[in-house]
């Protein structure tokens, strides 16, 4: 059985930017090597200026590598062919404000070569899926940030790509919009898509990612599976009903006879974002506009599942 080609393969990537006419250069990415396997949700983390967006731009062929090699499904990233199976949602996306949501997604679908016979059905499918069907006739210039992110995701998915790159997809979006974006990413994961995501909101990354890499000053400092990196394999937590002081003492004694120690007693807490989301009315829950569509899959349906990206 042959091993599937990695979705993204980066070897020794270095990217310098000239910052003065005398040739002084800023190294944005320094000898980066990492691999994103197909089907993974991969989080690329790091502070501002760590090289995340630069790396993504090199993957998309928008920037040229100073040194090293980047391949997307085995194709060098500077070639146009490498972008055939890629959907991209830029950070804080701006789209043509004079187009409606439908017109915008239709435009990108045609750019990506979605056949005319399936065009309308496919556009409607992804617009429904991101929960914007009721606002899709409005001009994009009237959209909120959360809606812009969702229409951005729709244009990224319209040609049914195998790899989706999301650059700070929840930047500037309220907790509801962020939660919905996470739901969409998890749905993509369940459909076997590969997702590369950058975010400053580490809790969200933790919820959706299988693998993470942390960049600092352009260098890779951490890379691995999420459980390996943040899980404490030598410890366990038991969550029980409230215990009295005597019961706790008895439990400590029982553990000690078996060679274990009770290291901490804490009051479990739910996360603040979970509390927030449970208390406010979310779009879609009361039949109003919005909310991520849950009944329609973004993957091309049998009717529209033609090889757009092999056309």
């Amino acid at each position: 059985m042959t091993t599937p080609v990695p979705a993204i393969s980066i070897k020794g990537l270095t990217k310098d930017f000239a910052i003065t006419l005398r040739g002084v250069k800023l190294r944005a990415v320094d000898d980066l090597t990492l691999t994103v396997e197909q089907g993974q949700v991969y989080g690329l983390l790091g502070p501002n200026g760590s090289g995340k967006s630069t790396t993504i731009k090199v993957i998309l062929g928008l920037l040229e590598a100073t040194a090293g090699e980047v391949r997307v499904f085995g194709v060098p990233s500077h070639r146009v062919e490498s972008r055939r199976n890629v959907g991209y949602l830029p950070e804080a996306p701006y789209f043509y404000r004079y187009l409606s949501g439908f017109e915008l997604v239709r435009f990108y679908a045609r750019v990506c070569g979605v056949p005319r016979a399936h065009l309308e059905a496919r556009v409607k499918e992804v617009v429904d899926w991101v929960g914007l069907s009721k606002a899709a006739d409005r001009r994009v210039g009237t959209y909120s940030k959360g809606m812009l992110q969702r229409i951005g995701l729709a244009q990224a998915l319209v040609h049914d790509p195998k790899l989706i790159i999301l650059d700070e997809p929840t930047a500037g979006v309220d907790p509801v919009g962020s939660a919905e974006m996470c739901e969409l990413i998890l749905k993509l994961k369940h459909q076997g898509k590969t997702v590369l995501i950058t975010s400053h909101l580490l809790a969200q990354i933790e919820d959706v990612c299988d693998q993470v890499a942390i960049l600092d000053h352009g260098k890779l400092i951490v890379n691995g599976g999420l459980l390996e990196l943040v899980g404490q394999r030598d410890r366990q937590a038991l969550i029980v009903d409230p215990l009295s002081a005597e019961d706790i003492e008895a439990l400590k004694g029982w553990l000690s006879t078996r060679g274990h120690a009770l290291n901490a007693i804490e009051q479990p807490r739910s996360r603040l974002d979970q509390l927030f989301l449970s208390k406010i009315s979310r779009p879609g829950q009361n039949g109003s506009q919005g909310g991520v569509g849950s009944n329609v899959v973004p993957e091309a349906t049998p009717a529209t599942k033609t090889p757009f990206n092999q056309a």
Binding site: L62, L63, E64, Y94, Y98, F107, R110
Partner: protein
Amino acid sequence: MTADSVPFSFSRLSLIASNTFLEAVRQKLFNFLLLLAIGLVASAQFFREFNFGSSELKFIADFGFGALVFFGSALTITTTAQLFFSEIENRTALTLLAKPIWRSEFVFGKFLGVFAVIGVFCALTIGLMMALLWHREGQLMQINPESFEAGRILQYGDLFMVGVLQWLKFGVLSAIVLLIASFSNTNLYTVVTGFFALVICHLQYLARDSWGNVDSIILRTLVRGLGYIFPNFQLFNLGDEIGVGAGIDPAVFGRITLYAVIYIFVFGGLAVYSFRKREI
């Protein structure tokens, strides 16, 4: 070409062009300049010389072409620069160029979109001018029939050809501005340099005329080179031929058209080459 390669697509090219056209016509600048030009052309009949002769018609035509050249040049430079930099500054180019498209499709799509906008501008301005001339000539034929014994004086086909040549000239200018925009960092720099290029191209014939009089071989070669690099926009000004002698020679029209097309492809090709490596 491998089975997986992405060929150059005229469909994508026309998509980008039509989107550029749509963006341009929804801009206030286009509507403003169009209204100004149409207003100026229409006002020509109020500033005419009242001698009821052919010179009045010539005056209206000259006034109309003047408005076309002035506002058309301004529209070409500003629209080309604006439509290019709006993609860069609004970061819509990021999303678009992250799709499987060639940068040459992007650059020539932008060019064709702007060229179509200028085409609409020229068609409306020339159309109005021709309608005014036709109307006024009809009035003059009734007032002063002895001056029009041989029928209408103006060759409207010639007027149309001059309009087409102006459109082609604006196409060359747009390609020059795209080349500047392909390496420039700001809209303002592109617009200012575009206006300089316009002036140079209008005065280019002076360089051509003078290279024979320059003694220094180096200077003569330099002047001659500049004469070839910058197109001669005076060639497109055939307005004086209208209503004179046999009018505009179709062979001359064909040669100037070819001249414009060659310059459009050369400057457009250079813009693609420059933009190919541009970091978005």
